[in-house]
Amino acid sequence: MVTPLLDVRDLSIGFGSAPAIVRDVSFQVMPGETVALVGESGSGKTITCRSVLRILPPTARIDSGAITFTAGGQSCNLLTETRRMMRQIRGNRISMIFQEPMRSLSPLHRLGDQVAEVLRLHRDMSKAKAKARVLETFVRVGFPEPARVWKSYPFEMSGGMRQRAMIAMAMVAKPELLIADEPTTALDVTTQAQVLGLIKDLQKETGMAVILVTHDLGVVANMAEQVVVMNKGRVMERGPAPVVLGAPAHGYTRKLFAAAPAIPEVAAPARAQPGNDIILELRDVSKTYTMRAGGWSRPVGITACHEVNLSLERGKTLAVVGESGSGKTTCARIALGAELPDAGGQVLFRPSSNADVVKIHDMNSEERVCFQRQAQMVFQDPYSSLSPRMRIGQTLTEPMEIHGLGSKSERREKAAEMLRWVGLDPSMLTRYPHAFSGGQRQRLSIARALTLDPVLLVCDEPTSALDVSVQDQILCLLENIRDRMGLSYLFISHDLAVVARIADEVAVMRQGVIVEQAPPDTLFYNPRHPYTRALIAAQPEPDVNRPIDLKLVAKGAGAPGSWPEPFRFEGIAVPALTELEPGHKVRCHV
């Protein structure tokens, strides 16, 4: 029998004096094998992964267990190994992609520097060689302009780009074991396919083993040989992927798998009724950033989005999907006035059907306060949008405090209520943000946005870190509120299944422009644009028997310059968005 590369045995971990949060977890990882760790949000997946590298919060305590790592004929217990040895192992033999890449990168160092450091540390490479290697990895994780990424600072990158930088950092040294904690949450499906393909390549190349934490059962089906299902800190079920996915034995596993959404097979397109009660409208919105990366040289302009026109009907959901880095977050921020559009762009908001239009891009302070009460945002990166030195209780009551709503105890009650809505326990109110799991933080962010009972909610990938059952719960909640209170959503997501479920209208973005826009039924029935088609094709399905060809779908639709004639464009000289059929707009030359 082959010795496992990593053998986790009876691992129990707790925090402070509270009862253990991870209990008796055991699993093995064979060399070259992929083990998927799935399970409920907050069930201890991240903690388990971190304990392998012994990078746990200072308050964590390991109650029992052993983690044996065997490589090169030698095995050691990672939990008791000397620090020096651990430094030899970290980054070199085992590397990790952290769950929240946005926070995990140093804000003051260029990405290139941060990534190349691993190589210089463990591979003893010259500067130039390391740079070449890093640039190459950048390309492989899907950066079209690796040179720009090399000298960018993290805050200049979109969420998905940061995540890819993190992935590059973990893989560039080609470790023996890769721990990927939800590595593709911020990536669109084609990029995701590219990244997953890269992992597979590396596995083939170097025999790398992978622990893959993910909520996307489609990814599990496509990647994993082994599956470990966790719930409430315990392993519910583990075994080979085909068996577990095919016939879940445990009640929780069954429940979980049942909740997985899928892109519906649309038989006939449904025509949307053109409404006229527009709550939010973006007109000709463009945004150009100046890169700090330049330093002494000429400033470089980055067009994050270009002439975006969107209108959101009251009580409806407008979903934006698209390539990572295509300007979705930028549009969302502009829509909420957090960023100003370039001159000429307009953002209009109508608080109620018969109220006056507010120009978001040009508000006075009175209008601003009023607007800020009515429009809220769920941030893509929940960790950094929560004040690290504020207890969650304070964070949740703050919006109400700002707008002077309710008494102190009412506010607290409401905060507790909100937590319950998003499936969290009110006793967590006294915790600080860092003491939550990724999915829990995402839910906190949603809870905070809801405390003010807004009329407009901008959700930037609100459910990417949630397991499917909790995701289902949250989506239900959102739908519920929308139907009850006429809330309108601007909903950004990579998960087409989620979009298909919740959206009334979908806009597909690529390279800063909208390439196709239609109601979901229309879109999934008859995607016209090559990019949309590529996206749909790249959505993995939770069925081991229907794997997608990662290589193929990763190509996506290729660069805009290689698209079929009517759709092709270079730079920002784009064809107009044309309405091919009522309610279905495609960017093409007719």
Partner: protein, 384 residues
């Protein structure tokens, strides 16, 4: 955990779908923030001890006159530069309660110093709750009862006496009244100004920042020295030393803020770009709120450390100023004044006890430091 025939393991423990609410005490949830902070602080032993020490020191201030056996300017002209005396309990193997041995001074005109002879044959018990010189309890109520004093014909100089025969121990107690209060006013002023201007400059940026920065630059490029000299000429002569010192410490504070302001500003310039600050703003938080609730807590550690560090500077500031004729002077007593008298070789080599006031300064400063550190630690979210 059971292994199924197809090679998978399944957990057998009964499973329920409910949210299991982890058991955290309810009371915890409703406790206001400071209670939570206090609970954490209690675990920081050194901080706690320091806090208690400081508390005692401050509580003692109004009673300094009662505890001190002498009043600050009470001179025993027969006991100049008397060395510290010990309080003994046993005399020739016999317990007779706290007592001192009488001492006798002679002027040694060969070496020009006072030498003291202790008469160890005559133990003289201390008196308790005895009458002595008049002082003011709480600075208001005249009283002449002292906790303990020397018996008739003897002295009790726990930490020796100085050049004029004044009791160093008593003077330190009285000196605390000034050093621990007035000196801290300057810190308060400087912190209030520094934080205020630093944060608005850093947070708003742009023109506000420009203006505040110019003021800071100008203030900083004007050295304090000429100001002090001008001031020492301008203070009305009938002002008491304490009033002068009060004004000085306020001015010290006013001059001191730019350094802090710049530190605050620089930190805020980058903090204001943080996502959670944006989030707060997008929720409609006013600048004041953003600064207080989101920015300042993230700079608390620096502020606490800076405050601790300013304390010795403020207590000792006057020793430097007295070079310019501006420090506190007799009859006011402060630690700085006492140290000022001790700034010569004789105090180091021959009468080392006159430099004892250094000790309380060090103790107080360390206590403030550890208190601050405890506070910092209990505000640190990453510590349990």
């Amino acid at each position: 955990m059971r292994q199924l025939p197809d090679g998978r393991y399944v957990d057998e423990a009964p499973w329920s779908d409910d949210q299991d609410l982890s058991a955290l005490e309810r009371s915890d949830m409703d406790a206001p923030n400071w209670v939570l902070v206090w609970r954490k602080f209690k675990r920081h032993k050194l901080g706690l001890i320091s806090g208690i020490f400081l508390l005692l020191s401050y509580v003692m201030l109004p009673f300094a006159g009662f505890i001190a056996p002498y009043t600050p300017n009470e001179r025993s002209s027969d006991y100049l530069y008397a060395p510290p005396q010990s309080i003994n309990l046993w005399h020739e193997g016999e317990f007779i309660g706290p007592f001192v041995y009488p001492t006798q001074a002679t002027a040694d005109l060969v070496n020009y110093r006072w030498t003291y002879e202790t008469d160890t044959t005559r133990p003289m018990p201390l008196q308790f709750f005895c009458e002595g010189d008049t002082y003011k309890l709480f600075g208001l109520i005249p009283s002449n009862t002292h906790l303990f004093c020397a018996p008739e014909g003897a002295t009790v100089f726990l930490w020796g006496s100085d050049r004029l025969g004044r009791d160093v121990f008593s003077r330190i107690l009285y000196g605390a009244q000034l050093s621990l209060t007035v000196g801290l006013i300057g810190i308060t002023v400087s912190f209030a100004l520094g934080i205020f201007f630093g944060s608005i400059a850093g947070y708003f940026g742009g023109r506000t920042d420009w203006l505040i920065n110019r003021v800071i630059e100008i203030l900083r490029s004007l050295p304090e020295l000429p100001l002090w000299l001008a001031l020492s000429a301008a203070v009305p002569s009938n002002w008491g030393p304490v009033a002068v010192f009060f004004i000085i410490s306020i001015i010290l504070g006013i001059l001191d803020w730019p350094g802090l302001a710049r530190a605050v500003r620089s930190k805020f310039l980058s903090l204001r770009e943080e996502e959670y600050v944006r989030a707060a703003e997008m929720m409609g938080a006013k600048p004041g709120r953003v600064i207080r609730r989101h920015l300042l807590p993230n700079f608390m550690s620096h502020l606490i450390a800076s405050a601790t560090l300013s304390i010795p500077a403020m207590i000792l500031g006057e020793t430097a100023l007295s070079f310019l004729g501006l420090g506190l002077r007799a009859p006011a007593v402060s630690w700085g004044v006492m140290l000022n008298d001790a700034q010569n070789l004789a105090s180091i080599e021959i009468y080392p006890w006159t430099a004892i006031p250094m000790l309380p300064i060090i103790f107080v400063v360390l206590a403030f430091n550890f208190l601050g550190d405890g506070l910092r630690a209990s505000l640190d979210p990453y510590k349990s």
